[in-house]
Amino acid sequence: MWRIYQYRMKAHFRDWDNLFWGMLFPIILSTFFTMAFSNISSGDYFKTFPVALVIESESMYSDNFEDTLSSVQIGDSELFDVRVFDSVEKADGAMHDEAVDVVFIYGDSLEMRVKNDGMNQTVAKHFADQYVQSEAMYTHLFETNPEAIPTLSSFEFDASNYISDMNQQRGDVDPMLGYYYALIAMACLFGSFAGLKETSFIEANQSSTGARIQVSPVQKSRMYIGGLLSATTLQVFSVSLLLTYMTFVLKVDLGERFPALALATVVGASAGVALGAFVALVSKKNLKVKNAMLTAISMALSFFAGLMAHEIKYLIHEKAPIFSYVNPANLIADAYYALYYYPDYHRYWLNIAILVGLIIVMYSTVIIMARRRSYESI
């Protein structure tokens, strides 16, 4: 099997078509992204968005929260368009009608409600987290050593600072990261071409080499493992090259959680290869048609993951949430996104787990389909 793997690797690295689309094309596209996004700043990206505020019990603290919420600046304008409601029900109703994106309820503690996931909700969540954390610290100081701080009312937020702090592990946030994540997802899905190639290479009804392999005394499973492992290795290498290029040449900050990034890359690349093998066996069309199908599928899934317009990702999540959970491109992009924006790993592991589930489903189908030992026609 090792020999099969070695020769298949050799064949992959000499296939210029696959190398271009799998390796060079994403790098070229990332370069274009950087050129196109170079004059877009955080301030251009984060627009003022409406939030609801319900004060359940008036106090110095609630006044301070309202003042702070209203004063957060992004560029020359306020980040939050604050709309005060006298009841939680009315605020929820406004959110339901999509008049506001987020509801803040200030009572004994600060509560935040959202209807959907999205960039605005993420920003609001980080603001709330940071506010609660800072308020606790100030309250503690106020109670234990009031002279140490001026007053709680001087507690102010600066939008650019807190956006910077959204991810607790790094400095600047690149608002265009969503596009890069979708691009990485697309690069992973381009592994489907190598998966298709390997499967077609082995199956007698898809290529003459397949017929030659089927009449040899080597078990099909060994051919599949050697071939698909080589395709996965190639794809992991291709995506790693893209990540290296983005990090060191384009200076895109992908974060520092390297083991998790590596795992997302391996799982993403595996999902791409599995998709190719799946399409190869499920479709009865010829190789050219299957290649065209995979191009269309990869681009469409990447589009829905926000490759061309980042808002699409949130629109899909809102209108067809199930699709966003079965779209491998979205799951891959979201795993990287979660690593960058979330201090914990909950969302990351959720994406990885669903991706692994999809890989298992696709490879199970491949095993069932490939287990047939002779063909109706060749």
Partner: protein, 319 residues
């Protein structure tokens, strides 16, 4: 018996590609499967190799039932497919090594086998070439080397000379003879009767998925009425004035007339040439060239099926 095919039936929907096919191939033979495109030769090969499912019948190779999981049997079979089956990204040497490696795991043995195969097909000067750099003939030779490098006991060649130049074709045919001389049993499919006549010790003629005749080439030629074909050029007369008289002769089977050119087919063991020459001499007809030959396999096919071997029947999909 090396290969025994018993009552094989293969259908593609309404079309019966193999209609109760029976074959027996003995050790040391070069067995030819001859038939026009669409006669079912390739389908038969694919069923023998357990690549294709079939509705009825049984295939035995080396006296064991052949199934897709018969790995022990497969170890001793070499297959040269009709379509060139090589890996475009690998060199000539790497291709042969890759496919040979599916049979031979020992590195040293494999190296010797690969080098012998390269020598055998005469690709020594092209070992580092990729397939796309090779001419059609060289590519066919590579295809053969990939199929026979592991020194199989049974070699199946499915139309290996299609689209090959005459020189490469001769090399391939000579190579097959040598493989047989070295001990391999060969099954050779073709629609070129000359090739089959040249190299095969026994031949099965196929038509519409059935074996219509089987035997050595002499046995096949003796099966039909025609014993001799006499081709004569008349120098000063048109042939149509003799056509009726010739056809009326008891030993003449058929007469084909084209202006001053006449072909007379005579019965087996009739000493027809002498009688025909005497006939024209008695009528003072000046003759140009005179040529006599035994019937070809095409004549055998024509007499049995009523069609030429190379007619094609528009049924190429079966192959």
């Amino acid at each position: 018996m090396i290969v025994r095919v018993k009552d094989l039936v293969k259908r593609y929907g309404e079309l019966t590609a193999l209609d109760h096919l029976n074959l027996e191939i003995k050790e040391g033979e070069v067995f030819g499967l001859l038939g026009p495109n669409g006669s079912g030769k390739t389908t038969a090969i694919n069923c023998i190799l357990a690549l294709l499912q079939f509705e009825k019948g049984e295939v035995q190779i080396f006296d064991q039932k052949m199934t897709p999981g018969s790995y022990q049997i497969k170890k001793d079979i070499g297959v040269v497919m009709q379509n060139v089956a090589v890996i475009p990204e690998l060199s000539v040497y790497e291709n042969i090594d890759y496919f040979c490696g599916l049979y031979t795991s020992d590195r040293a043995t494999r190296k010797a086998q690969v080098e012998a195969a390269i020598e055998f097909v005469g690709l020594n000067d092209f070992v580092k070439f990729r397939p796309r750099k090779l001419s059609g003939g060289l590519l066919r030779r590579l295809n053969i080397a990939c199929g026979i490098a592991h020194k199989p006991k049974l070699i199946i060649l499915d139309e290996p000379t299609v689209a090959v130049d005459p020189q490469s074709r001769n090399n391939i045919l000579e190579g097959i003879k040598k493989l047989n001389k070295d001990g391999a049993t060969v099954i050779y499919t073709s629609h070129y009767m000359e090739e089959v006549e040249l190299i095969c010790s026994r031949i099965a003629i196929m038509d519409k998925g059935r074996v219509v005749a089987q035997g050595t080439k002499d046995e096949l030629k003796n099966m039909i009425q025609i014993g001799e074909k006499i081709d004569i050029e008349l120098l000063d007369r048109m042939c149509d004035s003799f056509e009726k008289e010739l056809l009326a002769m008891p030993f003449v089977v058929d007469v084909l007339c084209d202006k001053q050119h006449i072909v007379i087919k005579t019965q087996q063991d009739s000493n027809g040439l002498n009688q025909v020459l005497n006939y024209f001499a008695s009528r003072n007809v000046a003759l140009g060239h005179v040529f006599s030959e035994r019937p070809t396999l095409n004549d055998v096919f024509l007499e049995i099926t009523g069609r030429e071997l190379r007619d094609g029947n528009g049924n190429g999909k079966v192959e």
